[in-house]
Symmetry: C2
Subunit: 348 residues, 2 copies
């Protein structure tokens, strides 16, 4: 069994993240990470008649670009694992329907990028696939329409609210690397649902921070790694409010992550100048930040060990209106430029 | 690589379906399969204040029952793979939130039971888990409210419409069998999205039949199995309309499945007497029919080789209103009382 501790598995022959692509919307293209993205839209409608169709096109074009950059076609991909925030995940279904790639549909809200990379890596290391693709997206306008108010209404945003990213990320994983520096997926700590009773749908960061805490703490306990073993512990998307809760509670538990933590929701926008309150959110936030920015830093060697921790809030509008609190989840993936699976407790 | 043909994988050490549980609603409890189910509700509200909460409780109680029947607790389960039809899959999230089991959320519409069993089996055979649980549900009232009309409106149903099952199924898989008869998951043929341009959301059977055709034909081509190698080819849920399309198109392609095909959507209700038009549908249909009925027949040995083919329609209401057609998918799982992986082309 490739297990260590209670929630973590390690890869026997760590799959490589072979290539990625990231496409973002207009506002994201004016943010501090603009130079990292493969494509920046000139118009968030992306030539389509609706925001939902625009989101589908984001997934389609971007996934195709990731394959193209990898020198592959849809024929080469054994499985695509994808999902998004729209009801019944239609961003994905209409986006990938022409690819003819065997498909596992996922729903993990903003945890989808780590969920999809987790399963994409496990299918390869399990001996079931040579190439897999992990894909997700979100679209600000489609999300506002579905989860909050029609944009035309001009509803006021709470200070703790986060701004859904218009963007998409696609990662192609493989059992054979382009070079010896990977980056490799070495460990996966899959989250369980955590619900601390937060009922304010305008404060997702606070709802999701306890899930991130639970998964990161478990990852350290399961593997023997400590915060200092990472160049970067990357959450997405806790924003300003949730990040502070996470760092403080981790510190209280003996884990100091103040110096090497960042959150995709804090990175993609200039929070003050771009008026996004507590930061960014949406499946496409971690999707585009990881696939556009972090992957390149790993390839360059300016980052060598990253713990990717994607968090998702798992409610819908109707159940929150029924008074329910917000269950959350966080999935962690250890990504390293070394193929070595050198956890202290490996082989458990 | 454990692959054979273009879309099929085989298990090296086939995981066993260790135990199952099925719970259904009032109407399902009056149908021809009533005796197979573990629990039949007396009231579809199930003691809750809303249909969504009732669906969550269905998943919670039924998953717990499956673990209990298996002599296990949530602590023993390494991963739970689950999803449902509700927006953002809240049936699942609120259902399983107290279990503290590492969770991969899935969205496959009515294909979810086969999608979840596929991944549950691959995680075990890949060396990542000892016990996994595959879980899904649907609730007629919650689905009508979300996808069609409020029940109070009394909207008329089209002759080709299908009736969403109130029910849930949970299967616990393991790398160690209770006995030598399994049943075992030996092969998995994962579907790709197929969209033949059907736009009528009241005719899901016709939309999904081409996906079932594509996956079943590919399964035969990939493995060398023929329809005659199966006691039962079990689709869910094509209903009357979709089943006829599937059988006729398969026959035209040289595969005669007239005598050994059945569809969960035709089995759970007495179609004429229970006024369900083209039959049943919903994630919980294949969920409860497989976990309640088919699993027991496999344990008894009255069925020995079953091809489970769950089909899903992957649209939502807003995208269909925008004029889009209905993309569909079908996932096939070969389940056998023999551990042998004796396909003609194994090892490809």
């Amino acid at each position: 069994m490739k297990r260590t501790g209670k929630q973590t598995v390690y890869m026997q022959d760590p799959p490589v993240i072979y290539e990625t692509a990231a496409t973002v919307g207009v506002k994201e293209g004016k943010g501090p990470l603009a130079e990292c993205f493969d494509v920046i839209l000139e118009d968030d409608y992306y030539g389509e008649e609706s925001w939902e169709k625009a989101e589908s096109r984001l997934q389609k074009e971007n996934a195709f670009l990731a394959m193209q950059k990898a020198g592959l076609t849809p024929d080469n991909i054994n499985y695509i694992l994808a999902g998004d925030l729209l009801n019944q995940c239609v961003g994905t279904h209409y986006g990938i329907r022409d690819f003819e790639i065997p498909f596992f549909g996922l729903y993990g809200a903003c945890s989808t990028m780590a969920e999809s990379i987790s399963l994409a890596a496990m299918l390869i290391d399990g001996g079931f696939a040579e190439y897999t693709a992990a894909l997700t997206s979100s679209h600000f306008c489609a999300a506002e329409k579905q989860f909050r108010y029609p944009l035309e209404y001009g509803g006021q945003r709470a200070p703790s609210a986060q701004w859904t990213v218009t963007g998409t990320g696609c990662a192609v994983l493989s059992n054979k690397g382009k070079d010896e520096k990977g980056p490799f997926v070495t460990h996966i700590t899959t989250g369980k649902i955590v619900d601390m009773g937060i009922t304010d749908a305008n404060n997702m960061g606070a709802a999701m921070a306890p899930a991130a805490y639970d998964t990161i703490k478990t990852h350290f306990e399961d593997t023997g790694f400590s915060p200092q073993d990472y160049d970067l512990i990357l959450t997405g998307d806790l924003g300003i409010v949730g990040s502070k809760i996470l760092l403080d509670t981790m510190f209280e538990s003996g884990y100091d992550m103040y110096s090497n933590h960042n959150d995709c929701g804090k990175m993609i926008f200039d929070i003050d100048k771009q008026d996004v309150h507590s930061g960014a959110s949406g499946c496409g936030c971690m999707g585009s930040v990881f696939c556009g920015h972090i992957f390149k830093e790993l390839k360059k060697g300016s980052l060598n060990n990253v713990l990717m921790v994607a968090t998702g809030a798992l409610m819908n509008t109707s159940i929150v209106q029924q008074g329910e609190s917000i269950p959350s989840i966080a999935h962690a993936v250890r990504i390293s430029t070394s193929r070595e699976v050198n956890s202290h407790k490996q082989g458990g």
